[in-house]
């Protein structure tokens, strides 16, 4: 298995770091992080990661805006994206899935579960 590269976009420093540590420790993936949408888009363009984990509720541009921009750019539109959200309701999940993301993962999560969910969604 190749060493996957993941981009984590989340405005919360703690959450971002925890996800980074979890993915590195549990799956050995390479993790890049960004604290806002614009940084995330820049990194995605530059590095073409295998997966983008994108927080939905962010100040300024939210995850949905960022995803649309990624979709609009031919360089980034094929990168699989998974939303991270603190919203727990199924209806909210459905609304997010309709936008076209690969999956939605609800906060909080355990490290292994997170990697398993990702692997499952992407078929790695």
């Amino acid at each position: 298995m190749d060493k996957k590269s993941i981009l984590v976009v989340d405005d919360d420093d703690g959450v971002r770091e925890i996800i980074q540590f979890s993915l590195e420790a549990a799956a050995g993936w390479t993790v890049d992080t960004a604290a806002c949408g614009q940084d995330g888009i820049a990194i995605a363009k530059a590095k073409s990661p295998d997966l983008i984990l994108l927080d939905v509720m962010m100040p300024g541009e939210d995850g949905i805006d960022v995803f649309k921009q990624l979709q609009a750019d031919p360089v980034t539109q094929s990168i699989p994206t998974i939303f991270l959200t603190a919203k727990a309701r199924m209806s909210e999940h459905q609304a997010l899935l309709q936008i076209g993301v690969l999956g939605v993962i609800t906060k909080p999560f355990k490290a292994r579960e997170l990697t398993q969910q990702i692997e499952q969604l992407l078929g790695w």
Binding site: G14, E17, I18, S22, C36, P59, A86, K107, K110
Partner: protein, 1269 residues
């Protein structure tokens, strides 16, 4: 002579040549020079004069002339100098010089004042300049003139166009608009002009009219359904009612790039668009464009276009208005076509009448054949009815009658008349002038015809019996006049032009008219109608011979076999014929008939029937007359016989008892002279035994002297055994003693007379029997009528012409409780209720004139019950002196009651309808009704106010189109269809958009399907509640929960993830990373605790669970405490805090809470300030209208808050930037808590901010809390 010589050649001096010593050279020099000077000097004036003459415009011509004179005199002095060479004429030369001197001095003097004037003359440059100026002015003037011309032309065109649009019918408007577009286009020399129509429902525009110059391609087919959003650069100003003026499409600004592209695609170079109508919804725009060149539009152009647009708008609005009017008219049409009565509506002021199609149809007219004018009706009223109808109208106008109601005849298209019941009511204006009269026409012809037929039947019966009785026992001499009279009666009754009788002569098979009656105005035919041969009427004769009647409604349309007859009839001028043969013993005897000269006449069975009866009567009368005449003739013959001694004579000698029988006596009995003896016995034996006693008695009477003459009729037996009748008359001769001595008599055979008499008697009997039979039939009919009269359920009265009751049927007595005797000879009006009496008496007078009347009246029974009667009265004219009135009353009380009940029910329904209507009008729910096609047929006011429409904008529009934009129509459409199909109710929530600002509303609809009596869906009624606000609140709640969830889950995610990493062994706690994740967990734990605390605190504050512990607190102490709490944080952040709370006041407040507020605000200020900046706290006492309040201000020099966020910062979790809050360790609830605390103190909190300068947070505590130290 000598003197003259002395002057010209004096001798006293030496010639001047001597001075030159006659040296030829010198002499020549002077001579030549002087001569040349003289020549030059003389030629100059000539030229000067010539110049002055030619240029009369040159100023100062006098000077030039003076110059000329002066030069001429100078020239002369030089000539003189030549002369004096030889002739010493020095005096002359001196005089000449003196003249020259005078002239030159004068010239010099004249020149002196002229110089300044000459200097003032313009220089050529100046002149050129003036010239140019003039030219420019001329050009300008020309331009102005051209502009004026053009303006005049424009005005003319506009005037033309507006004139053309006046009184234009809706159908021609489009053509006229196209024409006008072309006119304006050609006038302004542009390439195209067109109109775009705005469809606000679908938000698209379409080109509706276009004119293009011949070299420009028309676009009308392409420019359809262009969405507004593509045109927003022009749509915005147009919707504000502003014109679009583009002189150069090429140079349009960048924001109009979209429009530029569109215009360039259609090669527009310059254009002007004028909105049709004002904001917010102009109907469209009219555009004038140039494709070939750029045009800088002038104010005049725009003005012209605006005027033109105004005209267009008016015409388009008029078109719309006319269409609306047409729709309303259609509804009215629908209403009037629903009734069987014809409706008319007379606008009295304009004298226009609207006649409903049914009205015209009743008379057999098509719509356009009947104009909207009262004369159309007046001219068709039957002439006999007109006066009565007009007076009825007038009476109603004069308020004499509560309503107008007449029965009259109206002429139909085919010329026939129909009876109508005409009922109407006038509408008066406030001044009492009739303005409008609306009425209905009911066709009552059938009813009238039935009435008339009944009348006629009665009349007929009467006439028949009258004629029959008149012909009985009529003197034969009077028969003819009686027949003539009868012909007249019948003729008038049947309203024919002539009645006649023909007698058939079998000898020469001809018909001759014997009796005739002709209506006034027609010529009698009897003289021409004699011995009419069969050859002239072959078909008629054939019919009559076989006993058939001739029934010919129209001679021109007679059967083909009657061609010859037709020609003969036409010679008599006949149009219609009805003739019945009179047959005697199977043979044609004659004929009786009716005919018309003036009109064709469809003969009815009634005509034929009457004529048949009449024919029979006539025939009998004729036959009787003939018999009577025959009798008379036989009597005459007998007289003749008697006189001519053709009678048998007898002479009885009483003394001898012998009787002489003349031979005639014997031959009359068939005997010879000697076959009978001259004895009494011989006579007696032959006498009919039945007659003997009577004859003897008569004879004895005479012999006894009782009778002057003996006369007896008796039968004698003839030789052949037969009996013959004889009239025997005799006279006795007496002697002086008075004893009879002899009797002489004569007898005549009267057998023939007897037979005639017998026959006559028989005929009489027969006639009488027939009359009796006829009378019996009549009586039977009378009986039938009587029984009808007796048993009819209706009240029937016969009144005399004073209105007194003459006869009543038993029903009246039975039902009213009055005895017949109580009713008879009383006026009918006595039995009517007081409110009917007056009208009844009034109507009675009319009845006597019109002959008919119908009205409703109230009959009061003996026991006081009131019966409502539908009363119809007919004046029956039996004979002029013997009119009576037949009154038929039908009890309609029950019908009335039913009607009243229905009325009551109607009122109840109306009330319920009113309640429902008032509910609909006032309820705060939207109510909208759609028909099965989806068109709106009802909306309530709340719907209109909520959706921002006016009623006329929605009525009849498609409800789904109105409420939903195209993209969202499908779901409501499906719901609508399924409702109609399943006839169920539904409850659903949908988004709709209001009229103008397209505001979105969430409406909860309850919809019910409406069905007709047969259960078919006729539409739906939807009641909608505006739940937008509730919906918004729900959404806010959801959002809030979502935010709280997010805010709680975010730190939890870190804690959970960090602990999981350690717990699962993925990170060892001792490692640097382990330490780091544990720090993350710890930090987020405290953040979570803080968050939960804040949420709970806020909840407690807002739910009022926290009681303020208020007391007197020093403001200085408060600010100081807050400062101390925040001091460390400020120092760390390197922020200077400035306290400007000089007020030494005590306030009544919860010190902890207020200091919490201050701390919170200060901590925010510190967080969002750059290092080294200052945060100030200022406390002021602000006077307000009823005291003062304390105002706290916390001012920072941070980056400021955007204006759109200022309103929200005091809401929960609404930080300007959430990440800021989190990165600065906030929870997003601090300001919400502050706000809550201040509000609980009765104060106010707000913020002001300038981006990049800083923010100031204010809060006030009201004076009520303030306590002076």
């Amino acid at each position: 002579m000598e003197t003259l010589q002395n002057i010209f050649s004096p001798t006293q001096f030496i010639p001047h040549g001597h001075c030159y010593l006659w040296q030829p050279e010198l002499i020549w020099l002077h001579l030549l020079s002087d001569v040349l000077i003289a020549i030059a000097y003389y030629s100059i004036p000539v030229m000067l004069v010539y110049f002055v003459r030619k240029r009369e415009d040159i100023p100062f011509p006098g000077i030039f002339l003076l110059f000329g004179l002066f030069i001429t005199t100078c020239g002369s002095t030089h000539l003189m100098a030549v002369w004096t060479l030889w002739h010493p004429a020095y005096w002359l030369s001196g005089v000449l010089k003196a003249i020259t001197a005078i002239v030159s001095i004068y010239t010099a003097l004249e020149l002196f004042p002229t110089i300044p004037a000459a200097l003032a003359l313009p220089s050529p440059q100046q002149l050129r300049k003036i010239n140019q100026q003039l030219e420019t002015e001329i050009d300008e003037r020309k331009q102005v003139e051209a502009a004026l011309q053009e303006q005049l032309k424009s005005r003319q065109v506009i005037a033309d166009i507006s004139t053309r649009f006046i009184d234009l019918d809706a159908g021609s408007i489009d053509t006229e608009i196209n024409q006008a577009l072309a006119t304006i286009g050609q006038l302004k020399n542009i390439d195209t002009s067109y109109i775009l129509d705005f469809d606000y429902v679908n938000e698209v525009t379409c080109m509706t009219h276009e004119w293009t110059d011949h070299n420009v391609v028309p676009l009308i087919g392409n420019v359809q359904n262009i969405p507004f959003k593509n045109l927003h650069w022009v749509m915005n100003p147009l919707q504000r009612g502003e014109p679009i003026v583009v002189s150069s499409v090429e140079q349009l600004p960048i924001e109009a790039a979209g429009m530029k592209t569109i215009w360039q695609r259609y090669s527009r170079q310059s254009l002007v668009g004028i909105p049709l109508g004002s904001e917010p919804h102009p109907l469209g725009v009219v555009v004038f464009a140039s494709c070939s060149q750029e045009i800088s539009w002038t104010e005049g152009d725009i003005q012209l276009f605006k005027i033109f647009a105004e005209i267009l708008l008016r015409s388009m609005q008029r078109k719309q208005a006319e269409l609306a009017l047409r729709r309303s008219e259609e509804r009215w049409q629908l209403a009037i076509s629903g009734t069987n009565a014809g409706i008319w509506d007379w606008q009295i002021d304009t004298d226009e009448v609207f006649y409903s199609p049914r009205f015209k149809q009743m008379l057999g007219y098509e719509g356009h054949e009947f104009l909207d004018h009262p004369d159309e009706w007046v001219n068709r009223v039957h002439p006999d009815d007109l006066a009565y109808v007009q007076s009825a109208v007038q009476d109603h106008w004069d308020h004499k009658t509560p309503d107008y109601k007449t029965e009259h005849r109206l002429r139909c298209k085919d010329g026939s008349y129909r009876w109508v019941l005409d009922q109407a009511q006038v509408l008066w204006d406030e001044a009492g002038t009739p303005v409008r009269m609306v009425g209905s026409h009911t066709d009552i012809t059938d009813q009238k015809l039935a009435e008339a037929a009944l009348q006629k039947q009665l009349q007929l019966g009467k006439i028949v019996s009258e004629l029959s009785s008149r012909f009985i026992n009529l003197d034969p001499d009077d028969t003819d006049s009686e027949i003539n009279h009868a012909l007249q009666v019948i003729g008038q009754l049947e309203a024919v032009d002539t009645t006649y009788i023909f007698r058939y002569a079998p000898t020469d098979t001809t018909l001759s008219m014997t009796h005739e009656w002709v209506a006034a105005g027609h010529t009698a035919q009897i003289n021409h109608a004699q011995n009419l041969p069969q050859a002239a009427f072959p078909w008629a004769f054939r019919c009559l011979f076989s006993g058939e009647s001739l029934i010919i409604a129209d001679v021109a349309d007679a059967p083909p076999e009657a061609t010859v007859d037709t020609q003969s009839w036409q010679q008599f001028g006949l149009q219609a014929i009805l003739t019945i043969p009179l047959m005697a013993k199977g043979e044609l005897w004659g004929a009786v008939g009716f005919a018309s000269f003036s009109t064709v006449s469809p003969w009815t069975d009634a005509n034929v029937q009457l004529l048949t009866i009449f024919a029979e009567i006539l025939f009998r009368a004729q036959q009787r007359q003939q018999s009577a005449l025959a009798l008379r003739r036989s009597e005459e013959r007998w007289q003749l016989a008697l006189n001519g001694s053709s009678a048998g004579i007898w002479d009885w000698d009483m003394q001898t008892r012998d009787i002489f029988y003349s031979p005639r006596c014997k031959t009359m009995l068939g005997y010879g002279e000697h076959e009978i003896s001259n004895s009494f016995d011989a006579w007696e034996n032959r006498m009919h035994p039945d007659d003997i006693v009577r004859v003897y008695a008569t004879l004895q009477d005479h012999l006894d002297g009782n009778t002057p003459v003996y006369q007896a009729e008796y039968r004698m037996q003839c030789k052949d055994g037969s009996h013959r009748w004889f009239l025997d008359s005799a006279k006795a001769l007496r002697n002086e003693a008075g004893n009879v001595i002899r009797v002489t008599g004569a007898y005549t055979d009267i057998t023939e007379r007897k037979r005639a008499e017998e026959e006559l008697k028989h005929l009489n009997q027969e006639l009488e029997a027939r009359v009796q039979a006829r009378t019996a039939a009549f009586q039977e009919s009378e009986q039938r009528f009587r029984s009808l009269f007796e048993s009819a359920p209706d009240f029937i009265y016969v009144l005399d012409h004073h209105g007194l009751i003459q006869q009543v049927n038993p029903t009246v007595a039975e039902q009213s409780g009055y005895a017949e005797s109580e009713l008879l000879s009383q006026p009918l009006s006595n039995f009517l209720s007081s409110n009917t009496q007056a009208t009844c008496q009034q109507e009675f007078a009319d009845l006597l004139i019109t002959g008919n009347h119908r009205q409703e009246m109230e009959f009061v029974c003996k026991d006081g019950r009131i019966l409502t009667m539908d009363c119809s009265c007919t004046l029956v004219k039996d004979s002029p002196s013997d009119d009576y009135i037949l009154v038929l009353q039908r009890d309609v009380t029950q019908r009335k009651q039913a009607e009243e009940e229905r009325q009551k029910l109607l009122v109840t329904v109306q009330r319920s309808e009113q309640r429902w209507r008032s509910f609909l009008d006032n309820v705060r729910l939207m109510v909208v009704g759609l028909d099965a096609a989806g068109a709106i047929n009802y909306v309530n006011p709340h719907f209109l106010s909520l959706m921002g429409y006016r009623r006329h904008e929605v009525q009849g529009e498609n409800g789904l189109h109105l409420l939903f934009p195209q993209s969202e129509r499908q779901q409501p459409q499906e719901i609508f269809q399924s409702l109609l199909a399943n006839k169920t109710s539904s409850h659903h929530q949908v988004r709709v958009f209001t009229c103008c600002d397209k505001e979105e509303k969430i409406i909860e609809w309850n919809t019910t399907v409406l069905t007709d009596a047969d259960g078919h869906s006729t539409g739906i009624l939807s009641i909608g509640e505006d739940v937008s606000e509730r919906y918004a609140i729900d959404r806010m709640k959801d959002e809030f929960i979502s935010v709280v969830s997010h805010e709680l889950r975010t730190p939890l995610t870190s804690i959970h993830g960090a602990l999981d990493l350690v717990a699962s062994g993925l990170v060892t706690p001792q490692s640097d990373r382990g330490q780091h994740v544990l720090t993350i967990a710890a930090e987020n734990s405290s953040r979570l605790v803080q968050l939960v605390d804040d949420i709970l605190e806020l909840e407690r504050l807002e739910s009022g669970k926290v009681k303020l512990r208020q007391g007197a607190v020093s403001i200085q102490a408060l600010t100081r405490r807050a400062y101390e709490l925040i001091e460390l944080m400020a120092e760390r952040a390197n922020i200077h805090i400035e306290l400007a709370a000089e007020l030494d006041l005590m306030i009544w407040a919860d010190g902890d809470r207020i200091s919490q507020v201050l701390t919170n605000l200060l901590s925010n200020a510190i967080k969002f300030s750059e290092p080294s900046s200052t945060v100030s706290v200022i406390v002021q006492e602000i006077p307000i209208h009823d005291g003062s309040q304390i105002q706290f201000m916390v001012q920072d020099q941070g980056r400021g808050i955007p204006p759109n966020k200022l309103d929200h910062i005091f809401e929960r979790f609404h930080q300007v930037d959430a990440s800021d809050s989190r990165s600065k360790g906030g929870t997003g609830l601090g300001l919400a808590i502050c706000s809550s605390i201040v509000q609980q103190h009765g104060g106010k909190i707000w913020a002001e901010s300038t981006l990049g300068v800083g923010s100031t947070f204010f809060f006030t505590l009201p004076a009520a809390c303030q306590v002076a130290v």
